[in-house]
Symmetry: D2
Subunit: 275 residues, 4 copies
Amino acid sequence: MKNLKLASREIAQRTVVNVAGVEIGRDFVVIAGPCSVESEEQTLETARAVKAAGADMMRGGAFKPRTSPYSFQGLGIAGLKILEKAKKETGLPIVTEVIDPRDVTWVAEFADVLQIGTRNMQNYSLLKEVGRAGRPVLLKRGMYSTLEEWLNCAEYILSEGNPDVILCERGIRTFEKYTRNTLDLSAVPAMKELTHLPVIIDPTHSTGRVSLIGPMSLASVAAGADGLLVEVHHNPEQALCDAEQALTPEQFKQIMNRLRPLKAFIDQQEKSEVI
Amino acid sequence: MKNLKLASREIAQRTVVNVAGVEIGRDFVVIAGPCSVESEEQTLETARAVKAAGADMMRGGAFKPRTSPYSFQGLGIAGLKILEKAKKETGLPIVTEVIDPRDVTWVAEFADVLQIGTRNMQNYSLLKEVGRAGRPVLLKRGMYSTLEEWLNCAEYILSEGNPDVILCERGIRTFEKYTRNTLDLSAVPAMKELTHLPVIIDPTHSTGRVSLIGPMSLASVAAGADGLLVEVHHNPEQALCDAEQALTPEQFKQIMNRLRPLKAFIDQQEKSEVI
Amino acid sequence: MKNLKLASREIAQRTVVNVAGVEIGRDFVVIAGPCSVESEEQTLETARAVKAAGADMMRGGAFKPRTSPYSFQGLGIAGLKILEKAKKETGLPIVTEVIDPRDVTWVAEFADVLQIGTRNMQNYSLLKEVGRAGRPVLLKRGMYSTLEEWLNCAEYILSEGNPDVILCERGIRTFEKYTRNTLDLSAVPAMKELTHLPVIIDPTHSTGRVSLIGPMSLASVAAGADGLLVEVHHNPEQALCDAEQALTPEQFKQIMNRLRPLKAFIDQQEKSEVI
Amino acid sequence: MKNLKLASREIAQRTVVNVAGVEIGRDFVVIAGPCSVESEEQTLETARAVKAAGADMMRGGAFKPRTSPYSFQGLGIAGLKILEKAKKETGLPIVTEVIDPRDVTWVAEFADVLQIGTRNMQNYSLLKEVGRAGRPVLLKRGMYSTLEEWLNCAEYILSEGNPDVILCERGIRTFEKYTRNTLDLSAVPAMKELTHLPVIIDPTHSTGRVSLIGPMSLASVAAGADGLLVEVHHNPEQALCDAEQALTPEQFKQIMNRLRPLKAFIDQQEKSEVI
């Protein structure tokens, strides 16, 4: 694609992003946790549960970009400190969103991976800032953006000197109303031919329905994704956001039980014959 | 969903459509062949190739709904006779599109399955006619239609007395330009909870790119689809339509080599634990 | 646009479609009436009201393509006979939809203009049939189709020998939920540079809200549209379809009172200076 | 709409935003100028031309959010100083975009109105900052956002204490390719019933075609818009961005010659009868 330099597949075959030993782009990486950090109890309980089920990293939002200014906006620094505790206890690296360029430096002290949310994909000031933060960046696709625009946003980060960008497809906005968004799973093989960066799938925000998360997680493995970003809450009914789409720890465990063996099977197939 | 009676999941768990022994909804069924029947040689060669690679049924269009009135519109009855020959030789049942209610009765003489294309999904006269044709119907999703509208179109067919409807997701129209359409793979598990009818995937028209067909075929299996409808041409470069998206027989064979073992693996997983 | 021959602006400046003396493409033409013909009383009352308010033609559906097979599908021939009576009394030419190629010939006996609905825009069998029917055709834009596809459908009709095609923009499907569809008013000047055919606007189905019909009707005049197709019902609350979007005769009259003077003003502006 | 407090129509009939005597929401206000400030000569020449043609305010970007990091990103403070000169000479108030919350305070020293671009509509940190900047804000609709989301973003600004928000519809992203975006003109009367804030139209970015700007500007007046934001460049062929969609001063003048009389005519109509 025109304009692309550092993100282009032409300059590398594949990038492996190393986060405290977790190798995104080599291993199949599962990042799980609540939409937002609500309390120490909720976060620690969920952290233990996803760790036990085999998650590689933990997600949790301390800053929540919400449609309404009157909705819960996250706990801020208090939330980050809770995440720090959860990391200490479980050893799981932390993925957390940053929404303001002025916060990047200090949030990076708590985060192993800085997440850029779908509404901020084209927030270029923020992209430039995380490009200089010395932390891997998980860049969500804008719900309204083309693959080309998405890659150019990765380019914004890479061109500031940060080579560690993880792309995350989280559904695009269409006319369909049964699902929250439409998961564009074909973005995985498409991105694999356009860029060397790892691509993971968010089956939670894309479908918005607990019942669809399992099948689409398996499909993500088969499509060649490098991992998943999935919402788990120890008590979804009381979640302060996205209550209707968070998995219980038990549901998450059931999906995990199938993911790794499927991934192993797919890899074996690929070794013996290339599609 | 409101208004649904016969198509609703509430009245049955699953429907198996039997086409000359091929059981769609029980087996994973692969329907392959050219976009349009162009010549006897082309059709027979492709038929032999897809048969050899393990296809269960053959597709091929004798009536092509084309954007421009000046594009190749299909061979009509001559095309159907060629398909008949291909069937005689290979034993593969035939799936072919019908676009005019006046043609349904006689096209049904040649077809094992009548296909309703994406542009005709809401052609209610045609739906009613195929509802009385005594042949299974493959109903493609309108490229612009919601799951609810699609199911209501199935209801049109069922309510005329024809219980054998196969749903086929073929991509929806979005703003993305890299792919021809956006494959809505989450429609598979979504439809599985809304209806008892089998759901197959068309990875060809949805992606419009040969390179994406393999990964999305595997993903379809993992998502729980009941089969695939895929374009294969013995010489894609000379195809009269969709030249850029048809698989060669060799590419098709490579995908087939992985599909069945993957399906067996997925089934085994499902048996031991339910997501 | 490629493939276009007869519909292209390159072959003519403008086409005027003459319907019983009403000149679409020269005059600003208002076509009004109920979504569907429900009864003689409803149709005659509405016909008198729209005539009194200054409508040039009357619309009313005898065949209704409905999402569900269990919804009211129209009165069929009984509806056409009611329209005939309304025409006899008011003198208003009749615009009515045809949805089955087998009905075109006899429906054309009742209709002054044959309407092709949005769901049938790419029903090519139907397009070819109305192309041979000897009656002007009002071709609605598919709710999912590009200007190029729409023009190619006009080409299907023209290429069968019927030069009298009126294009009608009726809103496209987007993510916005406040309106029923999104009225693409820029399609008017766009089509004026691509084709010589007249273009009218349906402010009813595009907005789906009574309160928006007045402003968008005025905007249609200013954008250069050749007319309007608008739903009026003598008692909207009891309408069998589209109850929430039909104007009362009184509302219609108020809009009409502003349309003609505005059109005269716009025409005068255009004469003295060209944009 | 739920969650709305300060932006809701329920709390006020209409807001008039006063910018150095220009009353947006009462007068029909035309804001014109180049996409980006490129040089003193270009800016001053264009400023003089739009002033002479009757523009009320001047637009010009010093910070440009561009798809690629390698595209021209604007002159920054040097650009703002050029705008200051243009204002000094012509007396036209300045509308200019701000893209980073850290820049709001000092950019507000130069700007009469702070513009939030379509990509930053949901950049909540930025919204809160301009909500405290003591300057009117022109809030563009996200190309992917619903009216409800847009209003909630206005609410973010209002809830910080800034009552002066001007909404600007600039086209939404759809499948149509002939136009750059699809202008949702029905957003004008829709917003008029949902909020008391003024609504203006950007016919340039929505259509992306010089030939459509005139007709859609007139249509905006008829739809009830409070003004226009339009790109004018003294030499469009050499513009550093959006070269294909900027009006020449002469084209702008021709449109202006029709706008004011049309607005006067529409206002007179409204006085004598209400739609």
